[in-house]
Symmetry: C2
Subunit: 455 residues, 2 copies
C-alpha cells in the first residue's frame, strides 16, 4: 500500500467510527480498486456499513476486486435482495466466481434474484472449470453478423450501448454464431456505410477453446499482444471473451503458485497463494505438512546410505568424513536447485520444449563439469589448509565435483520427466530435488571416499 | 510451440531451402509473433533471407517481437539503410530497446537514418533506465488539449490517424503539457460537438513517474485494470505511455528473475532469464558459480560445528547420530524454503508489507510448532522402529521439531530483513537459506543430542 492509499484507509476508518454521515461523499471520490484494498483490512461489520453507502454499480465494481472469501462473507451479511442487486451489476465472470464460492442453496437463491438472461449467463459460466478459458471468460462481448453493412453494425453497437472498454474488438459471427472474424470500431467508422462487414473484417482471429488451460490463454494473449481473446466451443461457436486484465491476474496467480510449488508448498484450493495471513494456523500448515513428512522418508534414505557405509571406515576416518556430510549434501542440493529453476522457467516461458530433454541434459552436464571442477578445486584447497590431509582433500574435491555434475543433471532432467508424465513441472520442487540429491550425494561421497582412501 | 506452429516452421524451412520464390506469399499470411518465434530457431543467414522478403512494416512488427540479441544480429547483417527503414516503422519503445543493444557508434549511424522527429523520440527513450516506467514506455500516444471542443478533438484524432489500438485512452493535457485528464473515443462521439473536452474528461487519472520501477507500473496497471498507463515527469508533464502488452512482458520477466534468484542463480544482464540455450557454457555457468562457491564456505561452517561436537560423544553414539545428519539438515532446509517462498511471494504481491515483520514471524513460529511437533513424532516413531533406541528416538524427535521451528522463523525473517536493507527479497534464495539452516540445524541437533544423551 502506498502512503497515499494508507492515508485513505485511515480516513475511511475515522469516518466509519466518528462521522458515518460523511461516508457517502468520501466513497464517491475513491477508485473501486482502492476501496477493495481497504475493505480487506476492515472487519465484517464495517465492510457491510461501507457497502450500505455505495450505489449498486460502484458496489459491483468493488465486489469484483475483492477476494472471493471476502465476497462470500459480505454477500452473507447483506441480505438476499441487496446482494442480488449488486451481483446483477457485476461482470458476469466476476459474478460467477463469487457464486462459485457459495453453497448450491445460496447460489440458487441469488440466481433467482437476477433477471432471467443474466442468470442464464452466470449459470453457463459456472459450468466451466475455474482454471480454464471458460472459467475466466466473460459473456460481456460484442458481436455483429457478417452480412450486416458497416452502417447497420454501427447502429447495432449504438443500440446495445456497450462500455467503451469492450469496443476495441467487435467479433463477427455467422448465422450459427461461428466466429468468422474481428473488426474494430474505427474500421467500421472509416468504411463506406453500405460495405458488408465480411468484406472489411480481419478473418485471421486467434481464439482459444473454452476447455483450454488458463495458462495457454495467458500465453496466447501475451504472445500476440491482445487486449482480449475470443473463446469458442468445440464447433468454433463464440461463447465468451477473456480480457487482458483477467490474464494479468492469471499470470500473477500462476507465478505465485509456481514459486510455492517449487518450494514444496502445495497451494490450497481456498487460498491458492498460501499467503492468506488472516487464515488459521492449521490452514497455513496444511499445504506444507504433507511434503515435510514425505521428504522425511527420503531423508531417512540418505541416512540409510550413511549407515550402510559406516562399517567400511575406521572411526577416525569416519569422523573426518562426517565433517563434510553437510557440505556434500548442501552443495549438491544447491547445484540441483539452480538447474531446476532454469529448466522450470524455460519450460514455463516456452523457451524449451519437453522434446529438448537430451539437449538440456547435455548442456547441464557441461555446466556441471565447469562449475563442479572449480568447486572441487576450491574445496580441496580449503580442506588441505584446514585439515592438512591430502587424502581427505582429494576425496572431498573429487566427490563434490561428481556430486555437482550429478545434481545438475538430476535438476534438469527431473522437471522434464514430470512434464512428460503430465504434471506441472513446478511440482519438481527445490526441497524435493535437494532431498533426492541428499541420497545421491551420500552414495557418491562415501563411494568416492571408499575408493580414494583405499588407494 | 503448438503443433500448428511447428508445421509452420517446417514449411518455412522447406521454402527457404527449396523454393525461395514462394517465400513472400507464405510470409504474408503469417502473424508477426509466429514469424518471430520461428526466426529464433533459424540461422543468421536464413533470418536475413526472411527479412529481405518482408515489407518494412511487417519487418518492424517481427523485429519488435524478437529477443534483443537476435535483433542486434539481424540489424548488423541487414545493412544500415534497410535497418533504418525497419526501425523507422517500429514502435519507438521497441526501437529504443533495440538500439540500446548496439555500440554507441552503431546507434549514432542508425539514428541518422531516421527522420529527425522519430530519432528525437528514440533518443529521449534511450535516456531512461531500462527497468523503469521510462524504459518501457512508448511515445506513441494521443493527446488533445483540454480547451478543445469535442468536435475539434475528433477532427484532431482523424488528422493524426492513430492506430485503433491507441484510441481507447486519449490523454488530455493543458497548454504546458501537464496531464489533466483522460477521455475515450466513445465519450467524444456521444458528447455534444461544442462541449469543451475539459467538461467531459475524467480528471482522476492513475499515472506513474518515469523513474518508477517497472514492477510498480505493472502493479498499478494490474490493480486498476488498465489497458495503458500515462507516464509523467517530476512536474506532471506527460512524457509517455506504458501499454498492457509491455506490462505482461514485465510480469513474466520479473517472475522468471525472481524464480532464478530464489534458486541462487544471479540473472545476467545480457540474458536476464538465464535460459538462453544458445549461449556458451561459460555464460550459463557464470550466474551460478559465485553462489555455489560462496555457499561452500557456509557449508564448511556447518562442518566446523560437527567437528566441534565430535569429541563430546563416544564413537558408537557419534556413528548413530551421524546417520541423521542429512535428515536434520535437509528437513530444516525444506521447512525454511517453504516459509521463505510464502513470505517472498506475499511481499511481491503486496499481501504483506515489510512492517508486518512481527506478525509474520509470530505466525511462522506457530506454523513451525504445529508442523515441527508432528514431524518430530513421526521421526521419533520411525527411529524407534529402525534403531530400537529410546534415547536416539527422543533426541532426533526433539531436535527436528526445534530445527523446523527455527528454520520457519529464519525463512520468514530473512526476506523481510533483506527488503529492509533495500534489496530485492528474491535474493533470499532457497540455497542460501538452506545453507544457513545447515549451520543452525547442526548446532541444534548436536546441542539437543548432548543434552538428551547425558540425562
Amino acid at each position: 500500500m502506498t502512503q497515499q492509499q494508507f492515508e485513505g484507509l485511515k480516513q475511511l476508518r475515522l469516518l466509519l467510527e466518528e462521522n458515518p454521515s460523511g461516508l457517502s461523499d468520501f466513497l464517491r471520490d475513491q477508485h473501486p480498486a482502492d476501496l477493495a484494498e481497504w475493505l480487506e483490512e476492515l472487519g465484517d461489520e464495517q465492510r457491510v456499513k461501507v457497502f450500505n453507502h455505495l450505489d449498486a454499480e460502484t458496489a459491483a465494481l468493488v465486489m469484483g476486486e475483492l477476494d472471493t472469501d471476502t465476497q462470500a462473507g459480505i454477500v452473507g451479511d447483506l441480505g438476499r435482495e441487496r446482494a442480488g442487486d449488486i451481483i446483477e451489476e457485476m461482470d458476469p465472470d466476476d459474478a460467477a466466481d463469487l457464486l462459485a464460492e457459495l453453497t448450491p442453496e445460496e447460489q440458487g437463491q441469488l440466481l433467482g434474484e437476477l433477471q432471467a438472461e443474466d442468470a442464464a449467463d452466470v449459470r453457463e459460466l459456472l459450468e466451466h472449470e475455474p482454471d480454464t478459458a471458460g472459467g475466466i471468460m466473460t459473456t460481456d462481448y460484442i458481436t455483429v453478423q457478417e452480412h450486416m453493412t458497416a452502417q447497420a453494425a454501427i447502429d447495432h453497437l449504438r443500440r446495445v450501448g456497450p462500455e467503451a472498454e469492450t469496443l476495441y474488438y467487435v467479433y463477427v459471427v455467422d448465422a450459427a454464431e461461428h466466429l468468422a472474424g474481428v473488426i474494430s470500431l474505427r474500421d467500421l467508422i472509416v468504411a463506406r456505410p453500405e460495405t458488408p462487414v465480411q468484406d472489411i473484417m480481419r478473418t485471421k482471429v486467434v481464439s482459444v477453446r473454452a476447455d483450454q488451460d488458463q495458462e495457454e490463454v495467458a500465453r496466447a494473449v501475451s504472445k500476440y499482444d491482445l487486449l482480449a481473446i475470443p473463446v469458442v466451443d468445440g464447433e468454433n461457436r463464440l461463447v465468451g471473451m477473456v480480457t487482458v486484465d483477467d490474464v494479468l491476474d492469471v499470470i500473477e496467480a500462476e507465478a505465485t503458485e509456481d514459486a510455492l510449488r517449487m518450494s514444496a508448498v502445495t497451494p490450497d484450493e481456498e487460498d491458492p497463494s498460501g499467503t492468506d495471513f488472516g487464515a488459521g494456523i492449521w490452514r497455513l500448515a496444511k499445504p506444507r505438512l504433507p511434503w515435510l513428512v514425505a521428504l522425511l522418508f527420503l531423508e531417512l534414505a540418505s541416512g540409510k546410505v550413511i549407515d550402510h557405509f559406516q562399517t567400511a571406515f575406521n572411526p577416525a576416518t569416519l569422523a573426518l568424513l562426517t565433517i563434510f556430510i553437510t557440505t556434500m549434501a548442501g552443495e549438491a542440493g544447491n547445484a540441483a536447485t539452480q538447474a531446476l529453476a532454469v529448466v522450470v522457467r524455460s519450460l514455463a516461458t516456452g523457451e524449451i520444449a519437453v522434446g529438448d530433454v537430451l539437449r538440456v541434459v547435455w548442456r547441464e552436464l557441461r555446466v556441471g563439469l565447469t562449475v563442479g571442477v572449480i568447486a572441487g578445486v576450491v574445496l580441496a584447497g580449503l580442506t588441505l589448509v584446514w585439515q592438512g590431509n591430502w587424502y581427505l582433500a582429494l576425496t572431498v574435491g573429487v566427490a563434490i565435483a561428481v556430486n555437482i555434475i550429478v545434481a545438475k543433471i538430476l535438476g534438469a532432467f527431473f522437471p522434464i520427466v514430470i512434464t512428460r508424465l503430465g504434471y506441472d513441472p513446478a511440482v519438481a520442487s527445490g526441497p524435493l530435488i535437494t532431498s533426492i540429491t541428499d541420497v545421491t550425494s551420500m552414495l557418491t561421497y562415501f563411494g568416492v571416499a571408499s575408493f580414494v582412501l583405499r588407494i
